[in-house]
C-alpha cells in the first residue's frame, strides 16, 4: 500500500509541466513577493498543507523532518526552475515561475520562509490533536485534498487534449 502511494507521488512529481505561474507583486520587494505567491497560489499551498497534515499525523518526529526538509527541497526545486522554463515536477513546476525574473533567488527565499511557517503551523496543529475525531477530521481533509488533486489532473488532461 505504501509502495503504491509512493509510486503515485513519484509519478505526479515526474509529470512534465510548463512553468507558467505568475509572480505575485506586493510592491514590498521580491522576498515578500515570494511569500505572497505561496499564500495566494492554491497550486502551491494545497500540496504543502497536505504534506504538513500527513507529517503531523505521523507524529512530532515526522513533523520536524517535514519542517526542516520541505522548505530547502522546495528552494532547490525553485533553483532548478530558474535554470529552465521546462521543469520536471509539480509542485516544482509551480514555483519555477521565477525563471527569467530579476530577483529569483530572493523570491525563492520568501517562498521557503512562508512554507516553513505554513508547515510549522499546520503540522503542529495536527500533532497537538488528541481527540480521535479531530485526527479523523484531519484525515478527512487529506482525502478531500486527494479528491481535489484528482479533479485537477482531469482539468490538466482536458486542457492538454
Amino acid at each position: 500500500m505504501r509502495r503504491a502511494a509512493l509510486a503515485v507521488v513519484l509519478a505526479t512529481f515526474l509529470l512534465p509541466a510548463r512553468a507558467d505561474a505568475q509572480l505575485v507583486t506586493t510592491g514590498l520587494g521580491p522576498v515578500y513577493d515570494g511569500i505572497g505567491h505561496l499564500l495566494t497560489t492554491p497550486e502551491d499551498l494545497v500540496p504543502a498543507l497536505a504534506l504538513a497534515l500527513y507529517a503531523g499525523l505521523r507524529g512530532p518526529r515526522a513533523g520536524r523532518r517535514a519542517l526542516f526538509l520541505l522548505p530547502p527541497a522546495w528552494f532547490l526545486g525553485g533553483l532548478v526552475g530558474l535554470r529552465s522554463p521546462m521543469t520536471i515536477a509539480f509542485p516544482l513546476a509551480a514555483i519555477s515561475f521565477l525563471a527569467g525574473a530579476d530577483s529569483g533567488v530572493r523570491g525563492l527565499i520568501g517562498i521557503a520562509v512562508a512554507l516553513f511557517v505554513v508547515v510549522a503551523l499546520a503540522a503542529a496543529l495536527v500533532v497537538a490533536l488528541e481527540r480521535p475525531w479531530k485526527r479523523i477530521a484531519a484525515r478527512v481533509a487529506g482525502s478531500w485534498i486527494a479528491a481535489v488533486g484528482l479533479l485537477l489532473l482531469g482539468w490538466r488532461l482536458r486542457g492538454a487534449r
Binding site: 497550486e43 484525515r139 479528491a147 484528482l150 482531469g154
Partner: protein, 199 residues
C-alpha cells in the same frame, strides 16, 4: 444639546456623501469566481443535495467507522467520476444513475439498513461515480480548475457533514423515526427524478 449633535451628524453625513467615490465593484473573476462556482455547483441541484445528505444520514445511523468512512468514500470516488467526465469518457445513464442513488440511499436510510461496511462503501462509491461524472461534464469553461475543484469538493463534503449533523438526533427515539421518514422522502423524491430522467 441633542439638536446640536444631530446637526453635527447630519453635517458629517453630507460631507461623507459628497466625498463618495464611484462604486467600482465588479463580479468575481479568476480564482474567486472558480471557487464560488465550485462551491455552488453541488448545491445547485436537489438530486445531488438529497443524495449527499443521505450519505451523511446513513453514516450517522451506522455509527463509527461508517460515519466518517462513507463521507470520505463519496468525495474520493466522485472525484474519479469527475476525472472520467473531464477527460471525455462517456458514461451512459448518468441522470438515471443519480436518480437511482436518491432512491436507494433514501431507501437504506428509511430501512436503517446495516449491511457490511464494505458493501455500504461500495454502494455509496458506485453512485458517487455518476454524481462526479455529471459534475465533471458540466464544469464551466474559463474557471480556475483548482479553485473550482476545491470549492466543489468542500461543498460536497459539507453536504455530508450536514447529513451527519442532522443525524445526531439518532440518539433519541423520535429522532430515529424522523431520520427514517426523511429517508423515505428522499426515496420518493428519487422516484420523481427518475421519472424526469426517463420521460
Amino acid at each position: 444639546m441633542r439638536s446640536r449633535s444631530f446637526a453635527q451628524a447630519a453635517l458629517a453625513l453630507i460631507v461623507l456623501s459628497l466625498a463618495a467615490t464611484p462604486a467600482c465593484a465588479h463580479v468575481e473573476r479568476g480564482q474567486a469566481a472558480g471557487f464560488l462556482a465550485g462551491l455552488h455547483h453541488p448545491i445547485s441541484g436537489l438530486d445531488h443535495v438529497l443524495a449527499m445528505v443521505s450519505v451523511g444520514l446513513w453514516g450517522a445511523q451506522l455509527g463509527p467507522p461508517a460515519v466518517w468512512l462513507l463521507p470520505v468514500t463519496f468525495p474520493m470516488v466522485m472525484a474519479i467520476g469527475g476525472f472520467i467526465g473531464l477527460i471525455g469518457v462517456p458514461l451512459p445513464g448518468v441522470e438515471v444513475g443519480i436518480a437511482l442513488s436518491a432512491i436507494l440511499l433514501g431507501f437504506v436510510v428509511a430501512r436503517e439498513a446495516r449491511p457490511p461496511l464494505g458493501l455500504a462503501a461500495a454502494l455509496v462509491g458506485i453512485f458517487a461515480i455518476f454524481h462526479g461524472h455529471a459534475h465533471g461534464t458540466e464544469l464551466p469553461p474559463g474557471q480556475s480548475g483548482l479553485t473550482y475543484s476545491i470549492g466543489f469538493v468542500i461543498a460536497t463534503g459539507l453536504l455530508h457533514v450536514t447529513g451527519i449533523t442532522i443525524g445526531l438526533v439518532h440518539r433519541w427515539r423520535a429522532g430515529r423515526i424522523a431520520i427514517r421518514v426523511a429517508g423515505g422522502l428522499v426515496a420518493a423524491s428519487g422516484l420523481v427524478f427518475l421519472w424526469r430522467a426517463v420521460a
